[in-house]
């Protein structure tokens, strides 16, 4: 009959590590690089179109470009395609502005059943909220640093 030998947590960690399938990091990075690059390329094309056909300059074209990319993301998320692309691309679709859009839109869709105010409104930024918080906070810290340095005459 079996001996019910106790295995220690450390021994088990070694066993679990041996069987664990690792993420293919190099492959994931390569894919992320090319997909992220492609999204940026599309953004650049959209920018050129806006500058060429409409009354935008290189300084003002940023906002409509981002809005267009987010609109495309919204359609892809709503039709349930974005998460499939993201499984393939990883950081490639998460880092550009499309990833931020997807985080907001998917949460809004998910909580639609709980109503517009408490559901959509309350949960829309549950993933993207920390991006906004830490984004604004880092901008504040950098602006403060810059102001102090200017006042001290360093720059």
């Amino acid at each position: 009959m079996s001996s019910n030998r106790k295995i220690s947590k450390e021994e088990y960690q070694k066993l679990a590590d041996k069987h664990e399938k690792k993420r293919p990091i190099v492959k994931n990075c390569m894919i992320a690089f090319f997909v992220g690059g492609t999204i940026s390329l599309i953004g650049q094309v959209i920018s050129f179109i806006y500058i060429y056909f409409f009354d935008f300059s290189e300084q003002t074209v940023g906002d409509p470009t981002v809005a267009t990319l987010i609109f495309i993301t919204m359609l892809l998320t709503g039709f349930g395609v974005y998460d499939k692309i993201a499984q393939f691309s990883g950081a490639g679709t998460a880092v550009p502005v499309t990833g931020f859009g997807n985080a907001v839109i998917s949460a809004a869709i998910e909580h639609r059943t709980e109503g517009f105010v408490q559901g959509v409104g309350g949960n829309m930024f549950k993933l993207a909220g920390s991006v906004i918080l830490f984004g604004v906070f880092s901008a504040f810290v950098i602006a403060l640093t810059k102001t102090i340095l200017i006042q001290m005459g360093v720059i």
């Binding site: 019910n4 960690q13 066993l15 679990a16 998320t77 499984q87 691309s89 998460a94 997807n102 869709i109």
Partner: protein
């Protein structure tokens, strides 16, 4: 009858006389699609939310199991069931509609065998004539609760598992024909300090090993007594860890006789990572595929060990390790 500390031997031969299994769209493309009674093409199943869709799954599975025996809900004494959604809402609401006296059981994905063991105990001790037992899970509802919104693009690692959309229910009774439930071992909670919620197989494997070795020791049978030992949702990684741990303990189990519901359910070309998981995973395979194989006498003695990870979204975000559990139930054909 109690054997050892935690194993019940059922002398009165409670049987699974009828079953009902319902699956979702991914399951209908899977390897065991033919073994389902009802398959839905749409994840919402004509319901307004994923949670209500899960309730629909459980209700449908109950109805099918009862109708196969030409019975009514009023003929059933007890309904033992549970699921993964907060406060077991889908099951509670399904029990509101079927009006069978109800006990909610929550052991995460080990609910299926835990509830089956209790149902058999009720019937074996003449505490009930008919007990309906089973569980379900819904991919969307579980993803929403434990992970991210379903449409959120997070890349999953190869160790993660795919939550099954489906419900499986069995009707346990002494009256009627069907495979007999001969024994059950209630598992204890095991925690070997694994904390990655995207690698649940590795967290749950020790619980499965503990329950299997305890079951074999307390029932005093050799591992080869069983035609097949099936774990609930260990997936690829958990399955290989459990196999190695069992062999380390001197339990010489053949690789081909040690399967996992999460690995049986889907085809290799379906993108389910390390395999299926969820409370419905072991329930649909047990009450669908395995129940049919038992009835056809293709299998005669099986041990089902559903495994559950008892984490919550809160415990995971507070970086606690994952406690796990496994319950074993042996199902055998009489006269073999």
């Amino acid at each position: 009858m109690l054997l050892g500390r935690q194993t019940w031997l059922f002398n009165q031969k409670p049987k699974i006389i009828s079953t009902g299994t319902v699956g979702g769209p991914i399951e209908s493309e899977g390897k065991l699609a033919d073994d389902f009674d009802l398959l839905h093409k749409d994840l919402f199943m004509k319901q307004p939310s994923f949670e209500q869709a899960e309730q629909q799954l459980i209700e449908d599975a109950c109805k099918i199991a009862i109708q196969k025996q030409k019975m009514r809900f009023e003929d059933v004494n007890f309904f033992l069931s549970g699921d993964l959604v907060n406060q077991m809402t889908p099951t509670n609401f399904a029990a509101r509609n079927n009006k069978i006296p109800f006990l909610g059981i929550s052991n995460a994905c080990a609910t299926s065998t835990g509830a089956l063991a209790l149902a058999s105990y009720f019937v074996d001790t003449n505490g009930a004539d008919f007990v309906l037992t089973g569980t379900g899970s819904h991919h969307g509802a579980v993803e929403k609760q434990f992970r991210y919104p379903t449409d959120y693009g997070a890349q999953k690692p190869p160790t993660s598992q795919w939550t099954v959309t489906g419900a499986g229910v069995g009707l346990v009774s002494k009256i009627g024909t069907g495979p007999e439930i001969t024994s059950a071992t209630i598992g204890k909670v095991v925690d070997l300090n694994q904390s990655d919620p995207l690698n649940m197989g590795a967290a749950m494997a020790p619980a499965a090993v503990d329950t299997i070795s305890t079951h074999l020791a307390e029932r005093a049978v050799d591992v080869n007594y069983y035609d097949l030992i099936v774990t609930g949702d260990l997936g690829e990684i958990g399955n290989s860890i459990a196999l190695e741990m069992l062999q380390d303990q001197g339990i010489q189990i053949n690789e081909n006789k040690f399967k996992d519901c999460g690995l049986m359910l889907y085809k290799s070309n379906q993108e389910v990572f390390a395999g299926g998981s969820g409370a419905g995973c072991s329930a649909v395979v047990t009450y669908g595929h395995l129940w049919k194989k038992m009835n056809n006498k293709q299998l005669n003695k099986i041990l089902i060990v559903a495994t559950g990870a008892l984490l919550s979204p809160l415990s995971a975000s507070q970086n606690q390790s994952i406690p796990t559990i496994a319950h074993a139930v042996s199902i055998e054909n009489g006269g073999v």
